[in-house]
Subunit: 757 residues, 2 copies
Amino acid sequence: MASLEDIGVAAGINGLSALVFLLAYSILRLQPINDRVYFPKWYLKGIRASPVSSGSVTKIVNLDPRMYLRFWNWMPAALQMPEPELIDHAGLDSAVYIRIYLLGLKIFIPITALAFVVLVPVNWTNEYLAKLKDVTSSDIDKLSISNVPPGSSRFWAHIVMAYVFSFWTWYKLYMEYKIVTKMRLQFLASESRRPDQYTVLVKNVPADPDESVSEHVDHFFCVNHSDHYLTHQIVYNANRLATLVENKKSLHNWLTYYQNKYERNPSAKPTVKTGFWGLWGQRVDAIDYYATEIEKLTEEEEAERDKITRDPKAVIPSAFVSFKSRWGAAVCAQTQQSSNPTIWLTEWAPEPRDVYWRNLAIPYVELSLRRLLIAVALFFLVFFFMIPIAIVQSFANIEGIEKVLPFLKPVIEAKTIKSFIQGFLPGIALKIFLILLPTLLMIMSKIEGYTSLSALERKSASKYHKFILVNVFLGSIVTGTALQQLHDFLHQSPAQIPKTVGVSIPMKATFFISYVMVDGWSGIAAEILRLVPFVIFHLKNSFLVKTEKDREQAMDPGSLAFSITEPRLQLYFLLGLVYAPVSPILLPFIIVFFAFAYVVFRHQVINVYDQKYESGASFWPDVHRRILIGQVISQLLLLGLLSTKEAAQTTPFLIALPLLTIWFHLFCKGRFESAFLRLPLQNAVIKDTLERATEPELNLKVYLEDAYIHPIFKCGEYRRPIIDEESDPVIVATKRNSRKGSKTGSSESSLKLSSTR
Amino acid sequence: MASLEDIGVAAGINGLSALVFLLAYSILRLQPINDRVYFPKWYLKGIRASPVSSGSVTKIVNLDPRMYLRFWNWMPAALQMPEPELIDHAGLDSAVYIRIYLLGLKIFIPITALAFVVLVPVNWTNEYLAKLKDVTSSDIDKLSISNVPPGSSRFWAHIVMAYVFSFWTWYKLYMEYKIVTKMRLQFLASESRRPDQYTVLVKNVPADPDESVSEHVDHFFCVNHSDHYLTHQIVYNANRLATLVENKKSLHNWLTYYQNKYERNPSAKPTVKTGFWGLWGQRVDAIDYYATEIEKLTEEEEAERDKITRDPKAVIPSAFVSFKSRWGAAVCAQTQQSSNPTIWLTEWAPEPRDVYWRNLAIPYVELSLRRLLIAVALFFLVFFFMIPIAIVQSFANIEGIEKVLPFLKPVIEAKTIKSFIQGFLPGIALKIFLILLPTLLMIMSKIEGYTSLSALERKSASKYHKFILVNVFLGSIVTGTALQQLHDFLHQSPAQIPKTVGVSIPMKATFFISYVMVDGWSGIAAEILRLVPFVIFHLKNSFLVKTEKDREQAMDPGSLAFSITEPRLQLYFLLGLVYAPVSPILLPFIIVFFAFAYVVFRHQVINVYDQKYESGASFWPDVHRRILIGQVISQLLLLGLLSTKEAAQTTPFLIALPLLTIWFHLFCKGRFESAFLRLPLQNAVIKDTLERATEPELNLKVYLEDAYIHPIFKCGEYRRPIIDEESDPVIVATKRNSRKGSKTGSSESSLKLSSTR
């Protein structure tokens, strides 16, 4: 057990390392060459076109000493932008996301104050641990509930505080849910016209022997939403085409790379091997090789594009159906169309950027089976993930490598390499797994068949949260692997589990304090430094960039990776809630984390991240629910801990807490959640009326025409020219088609034909 | 342990007692005087007006010997009516309800055959029980899984059979769900016009300082459903008035009773005491007394009726909103109206007979609190119901009574009375509780705030099912009270519970066989005899009936008490599923129960019951779910049982079964359930179109005008005369009001004012 001084030293070291990161950031960000790494958002918004250069600021290095003196000024700058402006600048998702950190501060600052005023004196003034001879205890333990002797009536203080903390948390959560709901509704109300407001995604269109999908959709909605139906767009299965385009882009990059190389050094013509990964095969001229490859791929692409638009089988049984008013779309999205609830499924369309195109055509039975499989897989992943890693680790030792690759033996036996392999390889297997985990969870969510990126992120976050809960939180508290824990838990009484875990809680305080410092403090500082995008940008900048447009594309603003950051940050809520009544000493560290993360992420949201889509804070119900899950866990653990403390007359008073928490969850769910799932008709009517009054001449059909075309048909050269808004799009398309007769034109026009009724 | 012969004898006795009931019924039903007890449905339908009398059949006793010879013919008669006719005659609820028994037969007959062909030989040909010296075993046990020695590979037979049984059950459940869904949709499609098809129940209308509830509803729906809104009816808080009317009816009955008494014996004028229950107080002339009391009550009633229609506070913040088409109503019922999801709540209106008027005005927070309280109360009721009964029992002994009522001492001390009290009183407390339990559960459901009788019945059934599961099923298997069991279970490992229970399963086979015979066979036979309505009808017939109309009212056809019979019948599914792989000997008894109950209830549905409302089989998802709950329990118990049999290599194969069952449940829920919750727009459009084509002149507003008026305003003398359909109802009402000026007229017309926009 660490003493208070040890903790202080550790805090100093970690604070220092965070400081070094921040210092490095503060210097790097001032160099104009890094401007596109640290301020990409301004470039993407078109506000900034090139780094600020004035006086002694050159194009590459900043030599102005005055600017170095003010290197801290990004922090207040990050806090200055008012929230409405932030929403306007970065979107509601980002603005609400950083409110989670603020919520952490709102919840934990009063709790910490109260805990230090009430619980710390109650714990400290006992002599219980000092009397126990066989246990070495430190100051940290003296501050915790461990120092209160069993059966003491002082436990009343902890119970009363548990209630106070819970009520305070509920109050803050309720207020926050209310505010976020209001922000979302205001955001939706003030939004300018967007295609998804009028559009419904229809899945599982039943097959009809006499009609094409497009005709079938058209007839169905003409009949069943006769007064409101406007038009629809069918969806093509463009997955193969998307892969081709992706490949072509990569080849283009290589071509540019070799062209640049050749330009810089015209004496040596660059060559490349045609085999696997350029490792073997015939050596040919690189530029010629890639040029021909690209040409081949372009032809293939054209053929595929042609095939998609001609082949009726390339049309998948889903469609984006648009209505004359937001009211019509809201009604269609919220109602059931057919007596068979597995066909004609309607849901509010995600915004076009948010659509996950590959999942639009999964039939009901298959979807149901996929969910079952992923549920089982997730269970095994959470509880048994150590097994494959242990197997890999058992191979990844010296003997294993020597057996499989005997020719490496002399290299491996060298002393430094040997010690490196022995020391790092087993750990690396686990580390690689943990780095790949979010990607793996995202793939699992994709298999489950969600149709929007926002839903995929939410579902991945939910899976990651379960993993962290079991393997990081429980795994750190209870000794043994998750697998052993599962076995133990199955063979223990349910009433025993909170006891087993609860008893270990105070003992693990120092471990979690250092976890908060290493993962929280330094992790956040590393976030602002953006080391990986920094390296990649400079690599691309040196080898690929020729024009300003290339440089634009080399920027990687990244985004708030909700599916990764949110579950990790939930761990801090959980730790705070669990330790508040037990070892309040942990709380200041968590407050520092929330405050620091708030500033850093606010800065990143303003200057760096570029969100791929805007879901209108639709993740908030998940955040709310997970904080409450943490609260229930904390209450059960306190109950378990106290029941081992011979406080039999006091513990029954805690039983009501988890029940009240669950009720509070249901209450909030009923009170607020539907605002995140459905568009109320009243709001739809208000927007519709306003629009009719201000823009009576609006031709909605033209506006919606191209909104939901697969992005592959939209990119670059294939974008359709803007057509005359007055004329009928069908006729225009046919005319243009006959005039041009080009491949692109014909594929485009057939696309359009389908989008009109 | 009972031997096969013991079981045979018990079956004989119980079969005989059932036979006696049936015989009594067969004779009683032939007496014309009982015609209204055993065939009330035909009277209510207006098909029969008086008992068939011909030849030697007098008005009271049937003396025709030929009819006695054919006294069994009701059984084939009950089976003859084809299902479509049955739906037409008794409604879909009843027709689908008796399908549950048929489903029992469909599931269990093949399972029984298979179990007897495969499992009985597998069990019987072992010698395990014979070898065990210290256990006395019978033939029954030799037929069960107990006879298979631990570690035997014969358990594979049981596991394979468990899978076969499960798949068969799923197949049958799936087919049945499909059929019932189709029946429901056909029923809804073929239904004639009903007010609830156009109407939505709107709850939690927010208060508006400037407008009345009626105006507020009108404006809201005019704006938000402008093209579809037709009219609405506000709801009055008529709870007090309903009580007054109820009291008056009871006084009327007494008046009639005394008048009849006086007529038969004009010499003695009947008198009555005015005090509590007629036990003390002044003795007055009975006929005069009741006549004045009724007059007083009538005045009070008129005043209350007047107050309700004048006082704006008597209008509760709910309304029945009607639309121009079924499409409009379906849309409104399925969508969210306001951004605050706790106001303007819309749901598909129950049919007028199905509305539970008292619960229409509960605000959201209160509703949420009520649900919490009832959930906690139900938990205590299920697990701790023995405590108050034990307390009552401890008082209800001789010493307790002597202490409270010392003057009864000489009476009680008499030997026969003493032994009666000692023998029966404790049991009676429990019996009374069990008889009152369904009523208690219904009251709890009413407190929860459901707004339709069908929902109340479904929720009560769900509560009753939990009670039976814990207290009858588990309570019979595990020794000790439910309270002790709960304690044991909390202190056991979760993996231990199925073992503890599973091991006792084979030992309890004989107990459950006799339970099935006593509760199932004789209980069903008692159902057809209708002893309580029989006695009450004849009492009323002797003392109250003067006219044919009175006789009509004395009939009590009763109804399928879904909330009581369905949970009880679920116990038989559970027993069948649990014992199928363990002790197949139980299965024939269950098949007899299902077959017998099917015939009896089909007969009752045709001849007796008169359903209070028609919900269109909306209870089926509950039935389906509860059978699956039984299946999961049976699978877990088999798993527990086998894990104690040292069959370690075989049991893991069973783990998948409960998971598959849960998945099957989710699959069916997604596939079918919404047909029971929502009206698909496609079906609404079809009916609307048909109606527009066949009745283009229909004045829907007039049709819907009075549909959702509290029944208290509709009954008897207060029914409005049919008005001219062409003219505007508002004007008519005002005219009539000014013409008539009577109290009734004015209250009626103000009601109508509110129902028009």
